[in-house]
């Protein structure tokens, strides 16, 4: 369902609403029933056009970047580096570069994404 049908739906629903109100007016006379039902019909068709078909695409967030966490193998050294994932990285892969802090060997300790959890609306 494109924009045209949505616009048509809005126009039909609006016109239907006007007809409906017009039909409820005591001065309208004998055709009030006709206006009333015609208004209802047009409104329902209009709403069907608005809501039918594809839901409006919500703007999609790009996926969070994958990061590689490298740590020094020396337990006393606290050096840790987090950089973007590079093809060929895998968890527990020995890194060629020595630790800049103590000169020891380093290993890829983690590859992960930091996913934002949606806020809980249900608190039960």
């Amino acid at each position: 369902m494109g924009w045209m049908s949505r616009i048509l739906g809005v126009i039909m629903a609006g016109s239907g609403g006007v007809l409906l109100i017009f039909g409820m007016d005591p001065t309208t006379g004998i055709f009030s029933y006709v206006y009333f039902f015609l208004g209802l019909l047009m409104m329902s068709m209009g709403f069907a056009l608005i809501t039918g078909g594809r839901q409006q695409q919500r703007e999609q967030k790009p996926p969070p970047p994958t990061v590689t966490e490298i740590r020094c193998d020396n337990r006393e050294c606290t050096f840790k580096e987090i950089r973007d994932f590079e093809k060929g990285d895998y968890i527990l892969k020995p890194v060629d570069v020595p630790c800049p802090k103590c000169g020891g060997r380093m290993t890829v300790e983690g590859i992960y994404i930091v996913r934002e959890e949606p806020e809980q609306t249900i608190t039960i």
Binding site: I30, L92, G110, Y112
Partner: protein
């Protein structure tokens, strides 16, 4: 509204309009609703088709760098997308697991053969990851084709129940398809996925006890090996599929083989795996229970249960809760952060329920893509 107006010459028009309205909506109300449902299914199908086509393209782009032309790769992948496996007959259930296992082995062989031919320059590890990429494309293609089938069939036959069912299932189908669609990038780049937490736990535990990739005993069953490690005067056989290629191997049969090789010496089997979380549960929550935590079609789980039952071995499971997107997508930090707790629970289980001198099988179940030894 002019309800209750006195009757006059025009009252028949009012009555006619009223009855026409009732008639139209009682006769065609369902048709109008069907039209709305069909439009909603159509919109879902467009989205499914987009995901299917993009995943196919990703698969082609991933394969073409390993030695074949794009045209060759595209035509071969199209031929392979609707590859199927016929489940064994269950009217005579005797021996069904053996037959199923045989079929799954055959399927795996065909997959490996196909991928090796399509990517001649790929290493063994890359072939495993390429297999996973192809499988994701297959899943998306299958979902699209099934939904399209019921959409067209529903339209042809005008079957309200058929259309209604798809329309109602569409949000869930789209959610699953989206999880697979997001996962294809992980598989094509060889990134670790949430399902791999089991093997990751095993290696982290084994390394804490001094194991190295050199102490890993390879191929006790298809693509599965183990680290023999000592922990608090007990011997732990820490078992997992061999990575960092994308494979789950056959860990169930590996457990069975280890039990047979260590007849009467295994005191406990502990399985570690990712499990689907319930909505509302937190990602990376650790739970434990009794039984074999392994999500295969049957033969592997049966092998573990049978080995444990026949030898009177206690069997327990530790699972890490994840949703579909985390299980088949790049592993989220929340899941990685659960590692210390899982290892702590493993240690507690071993210390509490085994005694010094015992042997324990610790099996990490899951896909080892992006997880080294």
């Amino acid at each position: 509204m002019q309800i209750g107006l006195p009757t006059n010459d025009f009252s028949w028009i009012i009555n006619l309009a009223f009855f026409a309205f009732i008639l139209i909506f009682s006769l065609y109300g369902a048709k109008i609703q069907m039209w709305q449902w069909l439009k909603q299914i159509e919109a879902g199908l467009i989205e499914l088709k987009r995901m299917m086509l993009e995943s196919r393209q990703t698969a082609i782009d991933t394969f073409k760098i390993y030695g074949r032309t794009e045209k060759d790769v595209a035509s071969e992948i199209d031929r392979w997308l609707d590859y199927f496996t016929i489940m064994p007959v269950d009217l005579d259930p005797a021996g069904i697991l053996k037959r199923l296992d045989h079929l799954l082995d055959n399927r795996r062989d065909r997959f490996q053969e196909f991928v090796s031919e399509l990517a001649p320059d790929a290493t063994e590890i890359q072939v495993q990851s390429l297999e996973n990429t192809l499988e994701v494309s297959q899943v998306l293609d299958l979902i699209f084709r099934i939904v399209r089938h019921f959409y067209i069939l529903g339209k042809k036959t005008g079957s309200q129940i058929m259309i209604m069912q798809i329309q109602m299932q569409m949000p869930d189908l789209l959610r699953i398809a989206k999880a697979y669609f997001d996962a294809i990038a992980a598989f094509s780049d060889g990134k670790p996925i949430g399902d791999g937490i089991g093997p990751l736990v095993i290696t982290k535990f084994a390394r804490e006890q001094g194991a190295t990739p050199d102490t890993y005993v390879h191929e006790i069953s298809r693509e599965v090996g183990y680290y023999p490690v000592e922990f608090e005067e007990r011997t732990v056989l820490a078992l997992r599929a061999t990575g960092p290629g994308g494979t789950v191997g056959k860990p169930g049969f590996a457990v069975k083989k280890l039990v047979e090789e260590n007849k009467g010496k295994i005191a406990r089997i502990i399985t570690v795996d990712a499990a689907l979380k319930l909505e509302g549960e937190e990602l990376g929550r650790v739970s434990e229970g009794t039984g074999a935590a392994i999500g295969d079609p049957g033969p592997e789980k049966h092998a573990i249960e049978q080995a444990a039952t026949e030898n009177g071995i206690g069997i327990e499971a530790i699972v890490i809760k994840e949703d579909e997107a985390a299980a088949i997508g790049v592993i989220p930090k929340q899941v990685i952060d659960s590692l210390p707790e899982v290892i702590e629970r493993i240690k507690t289980a071993i210390l509490k329920r085994t005694k010094p001198g015992d042997k324990i099988i610790l099996a990490g179940i899951g896909n080892t893509i992006g997880i080294g030894l």
